[in-house]
Symmetry: C2
Subunit: 228 residues, 2 copies
DNA sequence: GCAAATATGATAGTAATACTATTATTTTTG
DNA sequence: CAAAAATAATAGTATTACTATCATATTTGC
């Protein structure tokens, strides 16, 4: 998979940037270092000025790639969900059994991203941490409807749609497929956050993974046996 | 219930304010108008200066009540969860059947807050909207561990704990009670958000309420019949 | 009823943020 | 090698998120 991804580009909405950061060395450094910097200091404290200092470049140069840090966050998280979608499709495509397929999907969605896959300038582990800690800030805004109309959340919506389809494949009678899919994708992030900061609010820990909880949750609510 | 609440004060952590806003007319106006203003313009655009203009008071006076707008958000959302906890306990206390009790809890947690109960200076409908749109911003910060240690999230944690206890009462064998409780409390907010902004990601609508989804979800995963 | 205490208001000031604009310099490319 | 494109440097603006100080209004305790 790593080798394959090396030759594939995750395509994000082209209105999210002014100039495609994939097309230059500076652009890649902006994206790569913004991930580690946001992960280090949090999105609120992060500024283009600090990023410029970090990469030995100028604030004004970064503004030529991204309008503002909100668009950068949308870019980074879109990239993440595109990457996740790719991994999801790749891992489930050849599975014919719908239960096994759904199980694999939960696995991919909820597994902790452990390693920087080093296939690119992007540190997926840090990006996963950013998505856990910052993703909801990208849509909890007054501009969400306008930005949604522009298609800025298309990849995320497509991903949730795929999960929904897998749910319906496994259990065509189920009446809440969209809600179960969105609850899973969002809930997985939330459980990872709780493990780190509110352990009393989660049953997950070093030994129990979010995967275990969500597998049980989905299979129970779909009235399926988990021993697929 | 409204009459009872009229004589009860929702108690929030006293480090969340510099001066208790309940003790003065100005304080109540700060709290009351901040709710409608944040609801109108979103938490990012909201400033103490704008609030001062709105209530015909001065920015500096507001700073005598709250250190900053983050603390104000923690105050407002703590108040909301305290109010919710009160309603939850009040509505479920006299129910002996554990299934019925859990059902009622889901009902209280997920119902749309429709009316300003007018028992106070607080517009609960607007506050509910704030919690849906802004609550996660109160904990998705770099200071979350410090603030959690200080007890700023105590009411929320107690509420989730109560839901967890009700889950265990209804099904003592269930292994993921904390995660199911936190997923429900958080998920309810998320589904309400999706109804408004991403209808394709939810099965809920005008006719299907989040309550229906979560009742089905909890009772299925707890292996209980919903016809309690 | 008045002085002291307290609450509120007005004004000013600061450092940082989130940009925009302009110009200079470097790098790329035809 | 010249022209074009990319990047860097500098300066400037409005707003934010405060702090500090002083003035004025209101409350209260005697």
């Amino acid at each position: 998979m790593q080798n394959l991804l090396k030759n594939l580009k995750v395509v994000v909405h082209d209105k999210l940037y002014l100039k495609d950061p994939e097309t230059s060395d500076l652009g890649k450094r902006i994206v790569g270092e913004s991930i580690t910097l946001i992960d280090d200091m949090g999105f609120e404290c992060f500024t283009f000025k600090k990023l410029g200092d970090r990469i030995g470049s100028n604030e004004s140069s970064i503004y030529r790639y991204f309008e503002n840090k909100h668009k950068l966050l949308l870019y980074l998280t879109s990239w993440y969900w595109g990457w996740m979608e790719y991994r999801l499709v790749f891992a489930t495509n050849n599975i014919s059994d719908s239960k096994e397929k759904l199980k694999k999907a939960i696995d991919i969605l909820s597994e902790e991203v452990k390693e920087d896959s080093t296939y690119s300038h992007i540190d997926e582990k840090a990006l996963n941490a950013i998505v856990i800690n910052e993703y909801s800030k990208s849509y909890l805004t007054k501009e969400v409807d306008k930005e949604n109309k522009e298609g800025f959340f298309a990849i995320y919506k497509r991903l949730v749609g795929r999960v929904k389809d897998m749910i319906l494949e496994a259990q065509p009678d189920y009446g809440f497929a969209a809600s179960l899919a969105s609850t899973t994708v969002e809930g997985v992030l939330h459980q990872h956050f709780l493990i780190q900061h509110f352990p009393s609010l989660t049953s997950c820990s070093k030994t129990v993974a979010p995967k275990d909880f969500f597998t049980d949750l989905l299979f129970s609510s779909l009235n399926l046996e988990t021993d697929a």
